[in-house]
Amino acid sequence: MSEVVLNAVSKSFGKVAALRDVTMTVPDGGFVVLLGPTGAGKTTTLRMVSGLDRPDAGEIQIGGRRVTHLTPAERNVAMVFQQYSLYPHLTVRENLAFPLKSPMLRTPPAEIDRKVRQVAEMLQIAHKLDNRATALSGGEMQRVSIGRALVRDPAVYLMDEPLSSLDAKLRTDLRVELKRIQADSGATFLYVTHDQIEAMTMATHVGVLDEGALVQFGSPREIYENPVSVYAASRLGQPRINLLPADLFGAAPAGARTIGLRPEQIRQGEGEDSLVTRVEHLGDQTRLHLSFRDHAIVTVTEVHTRLRSGDIVRIRPEKPFYFDASGARLQ
């Protein structure tokens, strides 16, 4: 039982409010991904839960226990730092064993050996175990840093963009691996990423942060299909949602300022003419850049489309999102 609850947590650094009244529940065994641009409060949220920073106001519970005033060690959390933070004076093996040797765990040597080996093999760094932590490539350092969290069995795993500097193949492998670990062990994850695919495929829940405030919390599908605001809608979806003047396609509901169109909300072959300005073949996806009444629109079309720039395509919005002047969604 390691549900993580943030209750009205606020934190300021000097005059900058990093978190404003954030209330969120990471369910036991849940995989919560935090989304938002730099400075939105994602890392601060992790640091609050880890105990590296204390909230100015509000309360944090882990597994039903109030931990707001406990040290990180007492909270039993594992964290993967964005900057790796490997101990430079230790070897890879010693880095991985470091949490197991802590006074909190005091693992017997045979058990340490077994766990280190197991994690090293999973992360494909077994051949580097006796290297110094500084004698690794960036991707290897990041894997060791993930490994240092995975050797433990903490109440919650906190991960700050753990896959960001890995190459594409390794990132895919580890994404699947992390998801498998979470599914097998029922561990609870709080995870920060910029990567949409990670958010969509791994998350059971997504929290959208905007300047320190939690603006939407729900399943990735819910955030994608039912965003509460322009801001939330812009977090997910590739290509990004097209935001256009509300009346561009004719009458709009009262109060609407902006119409939001994801590619699947643009019906092709019906409606009004638009000019194809560019066709991008991405392999698994073909993007269509359109010009509609002097507004640029990006959508997706058939992979093997015959369309070329200069062609005319008719488009029509289908169940679009409307947002008011403040950016809030109109229902």
Binding site: A78, Y84, Y87
Partner: protein, 312 residues
């Protein structure tokens, strides 16, 4: 050809730079060589003019350094033929060894006081520097400036008050008093130097250790200290060199009990004429501990081995 060129210097430039370094090294080492050589000369060779560069080495200076001797009438010398090599050296001057000198004792005082104060300076300095580096301390900058300001005048400027205070509290001529004094003088240097080194160790390592289940002190001990080893070693060398070489306070505050080698060595000359070789022998031996200490810690002075595992 500019001084900011990043290309390989030409052979001529390298040769010129090398020659400069060698010339500088030779000039620097000349007094040292002279002292070491004088230690192995006879008193007459030591004051010969023009100076003798080539001479027959003798251990006379070292024997005189470690012994006290007395002149004997010829009949006593004849009755007691010298038995050992050092007795023979002394006998050339119609003298016999009557006991050890105080050099060994003074040297030991220097070792106790020098290393004792170095250990204390670095020990206290490391904790203070860590606190200044990592914690939010009220008036931190003022405190740091205050600590530094203790070095803005020569320490000897406060010699009289310290002399009076030491006499009043009974610290005059004690090992504890000298250790305390040298620690006080060295602390500002050690706090500032070590703070610089600790500032360079990213705080993320300690945060990782805190998360990994360690207390702050354990994180300090297991993560910060090993990475600060370079800084601690170089700070220790600076502290030792100061405490080891300090002369003025030692003259003023020590005499019978806790006198260190620096005020003692010049007094060697007073015993029976100008015994420059014994003084030089004392100076040579006095140099050794700092040289050995520096050489032992040299590998820790190599920087750069601990940097690079935190992504900036």
């Amino acid at each position: 050809m500019s001084s900011t060129s990043i290309t390989e210097p030409s052979a001529g430039q390298k040769w010129f730079a090398g020659a400069l370094v060698v010339a500088y090294a030779l000039i620097s080492i000349l007094p040292l060589v002279w002292i070491i050589a004088t230690g192995f000369k006879t008193p007459s060779d030591a004051i010969a003019y023009p100076p003798k560069v080539v001479f027959e080495p003798t251990l006379e200076g070292y024997v005189n350094l470690f012994t006290t001797r007395t002149r004997q009438p010829p009949e006593v010398m004849a009755a007691n033929p010298p038995e050992t090599w050092y007795d023979r050296i002394v006998a050339q001057y119609d003298m016999t060894i009557v006991g050890p000198s105080r050099f060994g004792e003074r040297f030991l005082n220097s070792v106790v006081i020098g290393f004792g104060s170095t250990f204390l300076s670095v020990f206290l300095g490391t904790f203070a520097a860590y606190a200044f580096s990592r914690f939010r301390i009220p008036a931190k900058d003022d405190l740091l400036f205050f600590i530094l300001s203790t070095r803005m005048m020569p320490p000897i400027a406060v010699a009289i008050p310290i002399f009076l205070m030491y006499r009043a509290v009974g610290l005059s001529d004690t090992h504890a008093g000298m250790i305390l004094l040298y620690t006080a003088v060295n602390l500002s240097l050690s706090v500032w130097l070590l703070k610089g080194f600790i500032d360079e160790i990213p705080v993320e390592y300690e945060e990782a250790a805190l998360i990994d289940g360690y207390t702050r002190f354990q994180a300090f001990y297991k993560v910060v200290l090993p990475q600060a080893a370079t800084g601690i070693a170089s700070t220790a060398i600076f502290c030792l060199i100061f405490a080891w070489n300090e002369y003025a306070f030692a003259v003023l505050l020590t005499s019978g009990q806790a006198q260190t080698a620096p005020p003692f060595i010049p007094t060697i000359i007073g015993v029976g004429g100008q015994d420059w070789p014994a003084v030089a022998a004392g100076a040579t031996l006095f140099l050794l501990p700092v040289m050995v200490f520096t050489i032992l810690l040299r590998k820790h002075l190599l920087r750069g081995i601990t940097f690079g595992a935190v992504r900036k």
